[in-house]
Symmetry: D2
Subunit: 307 residues, 4 copies
């Protein structure tokens, strides 16, 4: 594992606007950059207009940050921007083994169980028939990723918020969220802890439309959570992480309780010059990448940016 590269600095912004209906609405946003073992927020700014009292909660297990506010009827705009430094844990795939059930940290058990959109309990036979003969470890997780990438067609607007991994396995189409759910379900069926991650993805294919939120996967292997991008639409090294959870149920960028409709969403991301004055571009790599060690008690910033 190497930490000798200059950290990658990415600048991104998220602008959301809503029309809140009479009666008002409660919002839970998950749009803040997470502060993980390898992702440091250098600078961030949030503007809520009109100003509204806010609560920011950081989940101690996942570092996801949830912003809650109660909006009055009328227009509401949320503008968040940040610069983050990312120093991925990088490793040679062949060195990363699967962790046995007996050796998993207890806090990770929820990630081998099925969840709302990842019905791994129904996919045991399928996963074992397809991948059971392979050597456990990073390459098998990558084989799952590649299978999903090649068997599901990226099809905008083909799915809905209730679409699950089983639906995607049957209908073979979806968007990044659906690719992620299917890969997660298959990994869990193979006893690999897997979770859903959301972020802003640098390098997104412009043919898919304007810059959007992205959903991808983290699989726990060899003591860390490793990044996988089953929809293959961007450059994993360029993902800023917002949230992680068992699936999309846990990390919607906005949960709305009440009546409100979105009137605008604008997102941008680009690399900028970092601490040393040099700008680094995310690139595709054959190495395994992690932005979360998964080890309790790790003081990531110190370690990840040691150089």
């Amino acid at each position: 594992m190497t930490f000798d590269k200059a950290p990658l600095r990415l600048r991104f912004s998220i602008s959301l606007a809503y029309d809140v209906q009479p009666g008002g609405a409660d919002f839970i946003f998950n749009i803040h950059a997470a502060q993980t073992a390898a992702q440091r927020v250098v600078h961030e700014q949030l503007n809520v207009n009109p100003f509204t009292q806010q609560q920011l909660f950081t989940d101690p297990a996942t570092y996801s940050r949830y912003l809650r506010l109660q909006a009055q009827p009328g227009p509401l705009s949320i503008d968040y921007s940040a610069d983050v430094d990312i120093a991925h844990l990088e490793a040679t795939p062949g060195s990363i083994d699967q962790v046995s059930i007996a050796s998993l940290p207890g806090s990770l058990l929820p990630y081998i169980y099925p969840s709302r959109y990842c019905e791994s309990d129904r996919l045991l036979a399928f996963a074992n028939a397809q991948f059971g003969h392979m050597t456990p470890g990073y390459y098998r997780a990558m084989a799952v990723r590649d299978w999903v990438a090649s068997h599901v067609a990226f099809t905008s607007n083909s799915t809905s918020g209730t679409t699950s991994a089983c639906d995607t396995l049957l209908e073979k189409r979806g968007v990044c969220r659906d690719f992620a759910h299917l890969m997660i379900a298959l990994c869990r069926a193979l006893n690999m802890p897997a979770r859903f991650a959301t972020g802003i993805d640098y390098g997104a294919d412009p043919a898919l439309g304007p810059q959007d939120f992205h959903a991808y996967v983290e699989v726990y292997l060899g003591g860390s959570w490793w990044l996988f991008d089953p929809s293959g639409t961007a450059i994993p090294m360029g993902f800023v992480r917002l949230g992680t959870g068992r699936d999309a149920a846990d990390c919607a960028f906005a949960m709305i309780f009440g009546a409100a409709s979105m009137s605008n969403m604008t997102i941008s991301i680009a690399p900028v010059a970092g601490a040393g004055g040099t700008m680094r571009e995310p690139v595709h790599t054959q190495d395994a990448l992690s932005t979360d060690s998964g080890l309790p008690g790790l003081q990531a910033p110190q370690r990840a940016f040691a150089a």
Copy 2:
């Protein structure tokens, strides 16, 4: 709220036997009594035969205890018994209000989101049409419980391990697990955090067969998690709590990774004389009952057993 009663002491035992197939199997058991704000384990004993190295993990958020072990091929028996003292938090139902989304402790957000067997995201319209006009609070949660109890028929062997709340709402039959999932999904659709609890239930109707594990519901209202028993087959005051989670995916009494078949399950429970030498019987009550305050930092045993 009153704590002036003698604690209730319950003695229970769980005997499980398995035939483990060649290749062996990993087990995760959730059969230990939880130690919560109001449930104290006075004594417990675990025998695993043949002796096998064990790991016991306590989830810091739910107090669920997970026992993991790797079993060799051949017979395996697990015998657990415990005496627990339970001093419920009791309250007048009318005094317990619903907590607004904005005021919920951040750690409870997962319990308003949908989960594997509780697809609250699909039931928003149904829940609001049926219960949306009622005053939020304990009585509304009880109305949900009563609706489930009266619209679902307790039917042994009518459902399977993949049956979900939506299935139960459609087919109107199931066992305690299914009643619990449906109540949870409806509560979440009404913005009430709700979770799945497992236990041993004193007072189970013998017409339903031998003493078994039980599944019930906890709803977070007014700062605490309150017990509800939608299948109505036992006496809530007599529930010893084993696990809680988002749904049955999180607290199976046994998760088996590998091939093994259960050859025996025997469970018993009865009240015994407690500290003061008196024996108290669980009884049905109109009061709201809680065995978990839900408040971080609360030193429950001191408080709950103050008298």
Copy 3:
């Protein structure tokens, strides 16, 4: 039953345009007016451009007419128009009884069995709990219709081609097709033969968008199939019938085998002066209406237009 009114004459037209992709495509259209016991096609015209060899098949049991053609790559337009006379069988609802299973014509058995989008086999308990106590007959079918109409919200674009009655019962929203499927499933669960009908609906609420195809329900009671309109968006007396079947799977207005996308759909309908020179407007009525006697061998035109 009365046949003393002047027949109602409706003129309608359907214009469809497609872009057929390289490789060509087979089409099955169900856009011809059915010739039933009470619906007579006075005049009809079909233009297919470019001209393509066509096959027209009339299902002997349902009178649905299916047009098949193989289209070359490039634009394809289909223009159909017709004048139809409709002389409904009208009856007093209270006089129409449910037919016992033992007395049903054998050819109707498929309509009490579940079908792709009408999973009556899952809704037995629900249907019986909700409607089982009512006196069998037309009024009970109407109670099912009213229940569906009041419990499901008409919501454009909320559902897809794979949405079924169970989905609609859970999510409580949909379009006319979904209302129809749910009503059919509930009727079958109560042992009433029920089928899916498609047509052009005079009097459609313009707030729902441009004139479209419509889906509604026929229930077999007292020896005839009776019309029900669970979405309640139009005037049943003004429905021209195109197809009937077990559900939408049997009577899509267009089934496409190959790659083609629709570039236009324009539909119109209006009453015109009939044989006697008078124009009759469809109106809402409390009477039961049928356009298919369901009795084999009936020479409907002679009977229906006897006056």
Copy 4:
């Protein structure tokens, strides 16, 4: 195609017993041998005890025979036995081509549409990815059959009456009914008319339990319906056909309307000496087999038994 063999004569019997609850129950049985182009009922006998008025309906399209009766409370027994001669249409697989959508007999359209347990509308992408590159015709249908046979595990009691093709594709296990549904759904997704057939299967593997009803598949190719046995548990040449339909919804051996429980089911089948005094044993064959020409107007007995 050859008809020069001695017909195969099979003798089978079905004994069913029920306890009918207070209130009585209507039954629809589909236990009579069908009389098809190649299956002739030489002798049959039906005993209903206590005697009850019966109605026998033969579906003119499928030749399925449905027996209806209204049973009084108390015990009910049904004993049916028959000798049937079967002279299969046999053909060389390579000579049997797929029929284009445009050329299909109109009456077969329902068999390319999805049905209750065969959701072909959801499996288009899967079927085309897996089988779309193969040459259409009998061998492709056989490839679908072989895929289902090798990817689904025969597992008694693993499924229920509401299990569908999608469930089976996901969970990869089931009984003969489930294998049949999945094969049918995949064939329809490839534009091959396919239907569900029930029968008594000579040669059933005794390891699967006592002689039972069987479910298999017929696919329409080259002008006839051809037999396929995706569960592979018996000898197709030894299937006596009872019913055919779109799926199991159409040909349950018993549909019960009311409350009754089955107290016994005993089935037997064996070859017996036929007209010429010789007994022929069903054997496995590489030829394609049909017991229904699918051609309207064919006088099968004359043709099939010409020798």
